[in-house]
Every structure is written in structure tokens, then in C-alpha cells.
Symmetry: C2
Subunit: 66 residues, 2 copies
Amino acid sequence: MANVTLKVEGMSCGHCVSAVEKAVTGAGASGSVDLAAGKVTVQYDEKKVSLDAIKGAIEEQGYDVV
Amino acid sequence: MANVTLKVEGMSCGHCVSAVEKAVTGAGASGSVDLAAGKVTVQYDEKKVSLDAIKGAIEEQGYDVV
């Protein structure tokens, strides 16, 4: 399992937190969002999911992974 | 029909716009949100809906009508 903290720009409210968490879950990982810090901590199995896929899922929701 | 523009605090993103518009529609009115201005213009039939009910529906979603 890998644990990575991503810096994500554009999250402004609770709806955004839900959208990002759903994106992470949908990509096959689990994650928790720190809205105030603009950070998303993701935990995933590197054998099953790539970090790029997780980042892509977040960006598809309209946020920038920086 | 009445047309009222409400000042609403706490709307920060497109999800908020959707949530507020849905609240207004759910209250039996129609509305459009100006996110940048923090304003919601509602149109409603005073015989069927009260302005208080519309404000209440918006506040139930976590926003302040000021």
C-alpha cells in the first residue's frame, strides 16, 4: 500500500470535499481531504491503481493537482 | 409574480450554485445565482410561496441569507 499526500487547488467547500473523495474512491483508492490545507491524502494499492489514475480522477472533477 | 434579489453568503463554487438553485426550485420558486456577486434572484408566485420559505430552503443548505 502507498500513502501519498497531494496538493489540490480549487477545493472551496464541503461539496468539493465530497466530489474529490468520490473521485478518489471511484479510482479504486481511499482518501481524505483537508479542505483548509488544500490537501488530499490518498492510500492505494500500487499493484492495482496508479497514482496518475487517481490524479486524473481528481482533475476530471475540475480541480488542479499541483 | 414577485422578483427578489437575495444576498447569500457562503457560496463558493459551482456545487454551491447547484445546491442553492435546487433549494429555490424545491421551495416552488425559480432562481438564478450570480456566484461572483453572491446574489440569488428568485421569481415566485406570492400566492403560492412565501419569501420566508425560499430563504429557509437556502439556509437549510448551509448558506446565510443576509
